[in-house]
Symmetry: C2
Subunit: 153 residues, 2 copies
DNA sequence: CACGAAGGTTTCAACTTGAAACCACTTGCT
DNA sequence: AGCAAGTGGTTTCAAGTTGAAACCTTCGTG
């Protein structure tokens, strides 16, 4: 084995994101960042991950522009990790993953948590995929096209 | 190290899905399954992954009920791997991941591919998160609630 | 019945992970 | 000033995982 294979070079635009966040911890760190966690110690306590692993993951997320470090507001020498715009773009991935989890991974009778709209306190709507003209699309109603295909449609 | 830490027991409904698909290959296998691939050899050729790894991943996906094996339609002794309903539920995760990839991982001037509606051939709409009453929600407009919270809302 | 292809499993070295120990820098306390 | 405790890491090293290649087994075919 030369090295763990990287999807960095892959053509597929699903593969390349996985290079940045496709491991066991990164998305959980991002989730915690959405929940307002910012400090190394907060992430470590929340996730229970080894410090060296957390350190490596944070470095990788920063390197990919998903998190950025900012000076700590309390004036201490340390910094905090906050989501960039690119990182906030993962919101939809997290929502999708959570809805899938809510549907298929919640034990029966388990007091599971779900996402609610802060303003109303009511659960959010399930994600839907729509065509440009608004039609609701299901798995199988889409395909991939490249740049040229769009020209003559 | 006892074993690679599993998120299987985690309370969080983002963590548990990651236990099933949170590695470097599983989502790519699912993506290929959406593209109609069914045979071991097809996946192997498409992904370029080592056969033992592919074998382990397919077994894991089947164990999690994301894929199931069906007898090969050509009557041969082999079987094929097809998505279950649970597996098809990952459609939204893949769409979210792809849209994030399209936005942040496509090289400049690169002939990137994107998802289009089969019927019209036009790109699909970007995913949106909506409140129950239809309001458009952004990152930060949601929080998690548990079962009891909903009662008194 | 030899031969090749499909679909895996086995083997083994390199790489990654995780727990614990260690280190550096600040604070807070006395 | 001196010292313990807290924060934010890095280092070390055993154990676990990954990947390439070799091997095995079961069909389909000539």
């Amino acid at each position: 084995m030369v090295k763990r294979t990287s999807h960095h070079e892959a053509d597929c635009l699903i593969a390349r994101p996985l290079d940045a966040i496709g491991d066991w911890w990164s998305l959980l760190i991002v989730r915690d960042a959405f929940d307002g966690l910012r400090r190394f110690g907060e992430f470590q306590k929340s996730l229970g991950v080894a410090k060296n692993i957390l350190s490596a993951r944070l470095r990788n997320l920063v390197a990919h522009g998903i998190l950025e470090t900012v000076p700590a507001p309390d004036g201490s020498a340390h910094h905090e990790y906050v989501l960039t715009q690119k990182g906030r773009g993962l919101f939809y991935v997290l929502v999708a993953l959570r809805q899938w989890g809510e549907t298929y991974f919640s034990g029966p009778g388990e007091p599971y948590t779900f996402m609610v709209d802060i303003e109303s306190g009511r659960p959010i709507k399930r994600l839907e995929v729509h065509a440009e003209d608004g039609r609701l699309l299901y798995p199988g109603d889409t395909r991939l096209a490249d740049f040229r295909d769009q020209e003559n449609s």
